[in-house]
Symmetry: C3
């Protein structure tokens, strides 16, 4: 675990290590960095990893090319709780990007100023590019709509912490399952850890087929799909609610027809089991009524707080694993394919023209862009 | 002293504790966090408060929904001088607020990332709302024009430090006394500590009657009101100057008629006593001539610097007092009054619609909003 | 060395002290603040300077009135590596400047919040003004196009570190030598340390005569001037490339004619010696091909990384030298000249009207503004 670009970079064992260390930090740790570091060192020693300093006085660079208070502040809190230090920017308007610098150059320089880099960027594949040009470990804090792996880690950790385990859980995923990348990662993570995702979405916002395929291949069961939470609520161990994002709709009428179709409130939750927790990646708008906040099953604020121990655990594991080794050499992997361009308009290769076009073969045929992992549109049509 | 929303939250004993600790920190402290912490621990022990860690390695969140360099940087400096750590934002454009998150949700999450929250917000009552939704102590760093209690603390501390005591002082308050909330709090604080405020303002910018009433009830004397500083200057121990703020005037001609009517310069100050200090909350524009800066009576820069020891003392006292206790339960106090809405357009309840409308009875009759403390406009008319 | 406004403030001995300490920090230091401080203390003791704390727990204020990620982050990294603390702003829109505060007042207040001030400002002479109003040492991180002394320090340090020495080196300065102030400072620094600058620029962007004069007076040799790098490349020890900045040209056609005339790529560099390093202050746009990045002679990323040890060394030397002494008294120097105004539109005196106009006599006749060092336009015409 050198950099974390996608949850797919982590094995199930990696996930468990993060969760176990995060749980110890949440239970036994606190505000004292030295105590938190001692817990981390002890936990790592128990699995044969010897780590002296971890994050103590290490410098984290938080490079937020688009704003995200919650994610940025929780990374910074995690670093402070471990005795670390933070620098960075929260707005690319105040960065050299406005002078036309490439992402690769920004990363190669910041790499010399810091020991770990957290990046959020509007373009898909940006964190992958950053990890290729950095000698320091890179954590993806969201690259466009593609991946936000630490959100997935804290979601899974919250299930485990609230309900004791993940295997066997029935987890309702409710809202915009078509465009909500958070729930795509979560569905895959649940399947990998033996839980059963259940899809709750209007017909126009259903979970993409390739995610359903992945779950089916992994668990042997294709996730059920329903349109109303009432149909499945009594059986759920957890209900994971997401926002229907206005900006995804070209036709405002279509958005108006769907907004507010799912509202979790005390009345709806009377149909759920008394142990069925409600989760949400936040910020919420109307999807969960504030009247439900005082219900003990409302787990979304605890879920938000779990971002700190999960990120502390992740940072410790990354510092324990890394051997610094000079400036990173650039984009690795398959040979460049100059005859083809990625046609995803949000792919990092569209903005950073020096990147060689590269495509990886897919196990069931076809190819995908090595940066944003989008399949060429023509191929997508042929497959669907 | 769990949170600090208004100076009225502090007893006179609380004020004295802040001033005494701040004085020791200013006299004996310095750049070494451990030394400053030792001073604070010793001072607290002397009044029976046992405090181990105080701010050491604690995390302060500075949530500035509107910009204020001076206030933000002095809080951050105070925290650093105590060995603490800081995270936050200085501009709500880079925060999740742009995604429509409620203040309550923002606070409930940041509460999990930090040990103390400093908030500045454009709407009145916002800091009160924050304190209701936070388990960590909250400090109001300005909520619209309503309260800015740490400014009042450093103003009173400066008088005490420069002149040795507060009781018995004659303090001229000069400039915009109608809209300048800083001078409203200061007039009340002076009265509570036995000093005598003297009002110097044009007829259209006089001190509101309810502040004059408060002073009269507290000290037995109604503050004198004059239009020209020359009339009272020889008797003053201190002259507190404020800016006449252009943005308060609907009619530009009215502002033009008043701007520059008060300019403190060496010539004016020849009429004052040789010990009469000049204070200003800063930033100044034209109210004090730079030619007066080198006069030893020019106390405004020393006043600005006092913001650091005062905020250090406040933070120490708050950490010594607080027992963390889980997520805060929401708005306490009187029952909601769904039949009435606060009519102050700058009240936090106008923007954050989930807040129940609540009104508190006033001791002399009438009611006021539990958030912004504005009295309904109709009632205000009847009373005036 | 109390403040650093211009490289001209430093003697050759000062420069060598910075370079020697920076080299030790780069070679023997690392991420541990205590180790870095011990190295600095040992180095300082060896030259008779006793320094206890240096930057440990000191507070640096980074006041960036205009954005510069690279410079700001490298100062912050330097301070963190020394165990220091940082506060500040990266965008004057979030500062009190928007309320019309003068630079002098901002500095006098921030001076009370911090132990060292780093300032970047769009107006020429701003850092000089800041140093006059600050009791804490001030470092100029760029004042308009005038000076950026820490860039010059790291450029010279990079030559020394990459090539072992500076005296005797032939260094090609290539690109916009007319407006690029970085290369003006570098040319002077090279001459002072016994190296030989060689100018490579199109006819319309030649090095100004007064810089060529300075070099000639210092080294006895007037720098050669050529239009094509090919003419001198085989003889160079280093090629320093700068960007041709679009914003300098009033006529877009003129810019279009010049953009891309110099592109360093593997083919061009085949003509250079195998030890000839390539430097660039970054960010680059098209001047250096990414295809050259993997050549060991590509020193520009190492050069960027050198910003951290150089700034660490500088900060240590400044903390070792400074005796705090109360609020600074204002603008020193020659008597004010109320009958004349500086006519440089980017001079700080044009925006900050309280500054007395002052002019210094020049050794060869004429005068220059004491703030921005511009000569009056009429005089400039007469001299040229």
């Amino acid at each position: 675990m050198r950099s974390l670009v996608s949850v797919q970079d982590l094995t199930n064992d990696d996930l468990l290590r993060v969760f176990e260390l995060a749980a110890r930090l949440a239970d036994e740790g606190g505000v004292e960095p030295r105590r938190n570091l001692a817990i981390a060192q002890e936990s790592l020693a128990a699995i044969g990893i010897s780590a002296d300093a971890l994050a103590l006085d290490r410098v984290m660079a938080t490079l937020f090319f688009e704003p995200s208070t919650r994610t940025r502040l929780s990374f910074e809190a995690a670093m402070h709780r471990l005795g670390g230090r933070v620098l960075g920017f929260s707005d690319s308007r105040t960065s050299s990007v406005s002078k036309g610098e490439t992402l690769a150059d920004t990363i190669r320089i910041v790499n010399g100023y810091s020991d770990i880099i957290v990046i959020r960027h509007p373009l898909e594949g940006a964190a992958h590019v950053a990890s290729c040009f950095s000698d320091a470990p890179v954590i993806n804090a969201g690259d466009g709509g593609r991946e936000h792996p630490t959100q997935c880690l804290l979601d899974l950790f919250t299930l485990r912490r609230e309900l004791g385990h993940i295997a066997g859980l029935k987890v309702g995923l409710c809202g915009d399952l078509k465009y909500g990348r958070t729930v795509h990662s979560l569905a895959q993570g649940l399947a990998r850890l033996g839980a059963e995702p259940i899809c709750i979405a209007p017909a126009t916002l259903r979970m993409p087929a390739h995610i359903l395929d992945f779950v089916q291949e992994t668990t042997g069961t294709r996730p059920p799909e329903v349109e109303r939470p009432e149909e499945v609520l009594p059986d759920l161990n957890a209900l994971y609610v997401t926002r229907i994002q206005q900006e995804r709709f070209e036709d405002p009428a279509e958005y108006e027809a769907l907004r507010g179709i799912y509202v979790v409130d005390p009345e709806l939750m009377r149909r759920a089991s008394k142990d069925c927790i409600v989760m949400h990646p936040l910020p919420r708008v109307d999807e969960i009524s504030p009247a439900f906040d005082s219900d003990p099953r409302a787990a979304y604020f605890r879920q938000g707080h779990n971002g700190v121990p999960v990120r502390m655990a992740l940072v410790c594991l990354m510092f324990a694993a890394v051997e610094p080794a000079g400036i990173a050499p650039g984009i690795p992997g398959a040979a460049a394919d100059p005859g083809r361009e990625c046609d995803n308009p949000r792919c990092i290769t569209r903005a950073e023209r020096y990147l060689p076009q590269r495509f990886d073969p897919l196990p069931y045929g076809g190819i995908r862009c090595a940066y944003c992992e989008a399949r060429p549109a023509q191929q997508e049509l042929r497959l669907s």
